[in-house]
Amino acid sequence: MTTGFSLSSRFGTQSLGGCYAPETLMQPLLDLEAAFRAALADPAFEAELKTELRNFVGRPTPLTPAPRLAAKLGLKALFLKREDLTHTGAHKINNALAQAILARRMGKTEIIAETGAGQHGVATAAACARLGLACTVYMGVTDMARQAPNVARMRLFGTRVVPVEAGQGTLKEAVNEALRAWAGSCDRAHYILGSALGPHPFPTLVRSFQTVIGEEARAQVLEQSGALPEVVLACAGGGSNGLGLLVPFLGDALRRVAVEAGGHGMVLGEHAARLDGGRMGVLHGCKTLLLQDEHGHTAETASISAGLDYPALGPELAALVLDRKVEVRRASDDEALLGARQLCEAEGILPALESSHALALLPALAAEGVATILLGLSGRGDKDLSTYQARLGI
């Protein structure tokens, strides 16, 4: 048994992150870090993960030049990193699968997960079916309604989906419930957290399983265009696809931009923009930028996108932002819808509502004189069809 963490649990000059967990979860978290380190040091783990990422998930995902959309927006070149083409349709599978393999190495037989947009839930359900692990996913009732197709997909994979009625019935409440469930079953269950948030070692774990996105993309954009783009751009909920794409570009002289959900207004409760709107706080085991009221209660959020309405920005991404290594911008619901429509019509690619927030920033970047952009298309929009239909009048 491990008694202390070996990896750094803090990020940036303001020491974000940490491990603010109930005592019951401390030893499981210590064990998880130890297992993670052992796995990273074990070529068999890397080999299994790599094989599954290739044969099951479909990695490497393509880098798609988007010349027609670029021309429409006045960009010289636009490249899309196609996580929407992974198995189950979003980057979430990279992490879910890796953690499921890790859990099986640890001798766990059950998996717990939370989900917002449902993509992490579906990815975890798929990974668990693939590995023969029992799986329970907690999901807010609001999200269950707006991402109904993903509920059905999880159930088809044999996963139990538990509705969470509390609060707004979205991702935050699902995490609460998943953490509670884990505290009751941590002797046999592993909790597969879906974004780069939560107590240490989750943010590090998740990020390290997602940087495959940026590593592939960096090599691909160099191969395709012979140069790095001026801007690398991703949407940010918890921050896993953002970190996954941006971290491998940290050493490069270019702009790294994360886009938060601007929702439908600037007032607390009308958006999920944590940089302007948030203050340092602790939620779900880590310290980071948090939307909260003056009492330290987590604030309500609003976004058309179920995957971006989490009230906290993952600690590592928040630290990179505060340390000025990543810029944060926001896109409103309406801008995201427009971004989605433009990509659909110009390139024949249907983006997830989450990814549409990154797309929504393209006109602004073009107006700033940016000519070449690499954008992380974190997922496909099939799950969002009913929203697109209703809001775009299709």
């Binding site: 008694t3 603010y20 005592e23 019951t24 953490l179 602790v282 330290g296």
Partner: protein, 251 residues
């Protein structure tokens, strides 16, 4: 030995009722009790305490209002403020001390603050007389338990129970969902912990019926009753009635 550590949620049924409840507890001989600060995201609480917190927040029981309501109360057991970290962080260690000074609060039980995560904050509060209660879960190894008890030391027999005890979490899971518990593992656990520490122990999570409470007392530890009390209080039962039955009983 303190025979019972009751838990109440501040603001449920109301903040106005709080002074009366504390005084009532004291008159029953309760030396210390836990008082929950209602939080928006109580990740370690079961449905009963979640609902109580929700009701309390709905009635305006913000952290500051709770501390205000406690200010000036002397006819009370020692209060252990049961809380999540974020509301305290937002108040800040300095301001918190000022706010706590006129209250019967003697210690803090911060559910999501393992030792070492906020060392300066925690040290400030301890220095000001508000130590953070050490928690020992079923998953806590003996080695880690030793470390926890060292990091959150016993101030010694001169200090009140509230500032000395370690909280032994009796089982996996969240507060309150317990059914009739098998006390075998708890007994073994207490014996094990006794090999590394002589400080007072409270045992909580899922205790409710007089027999279990008596059994815990028979092990030389103080039983905590939380969710059961909160539920009964919410359904209109009187505190004296609830507590007096639980202060006696055979193991």
């Amino acid at each position: 030995m303190n025979p019972l550590l009751p838990f109440l949620m501040a603001g449920d049924p109301s903040l106005e009722a709080l002074p009366g409840l504390l005084s009532e507890a004291r008159s029953l001989g309760i030396e210390a009790m836990e008082l929950g600060l209602p939080h928006s995201d109580p990740i370690a609480d079961g449905p009963v305490l979640q609902a109580a917190a929700q009701r309390a927040i709905g009635r305006g029981a913000t952290p500051l209002r709770v501390l205000e309501a406690l200010a000036g109360i002397t006819d009370s057991p020692d209060v252990i403020l049961f809380t999540y970290l974020n509301p305290l962080l937002q108040i800040g260690a300095r301001r918190l001390q000022t706010l706590l000074a006129p209250t019967p609060v003697k210690a803090l039980l911060v559910v999501d603050l393992p030792f070492g995560e906020e060392p300066a904050f925690e040290a400030d509060l301890r220095a000001a007389g508000y130590p953070v209660v050490p928690l020992l879960a079923p998953t806590t190894t003996l080695e880690r338990a030793r470390q926890i008890l060292l990091e959150r030391p016993d101030p010694g027999p001169g200090a009140p129970f509230a500032q000395r005890f370690a909280y032994v979490v009796a089982r996996l899971g969240v507060t309150g969902t317990g059914q009739a518990m098998d006390l075998g593992p708890v007994s073994a656990r207490i014996q094990q912990l006794r090999t590394i520490s002589a400080r007072p122990l409270a045992v909580g999570f899922g205790l409710s019926d007089p027999r279990s409470l008596a059994a815990v007392r028979a092990l030389g530890a103080t039983p905590v009753v939380g969710s059961a009390l909160v539920q009964e209080l919410a359904s209109g039962r009187g505190l004296s009635d609830m507590l007096s039955g639980r202060l006696v009983g055979d193991a």
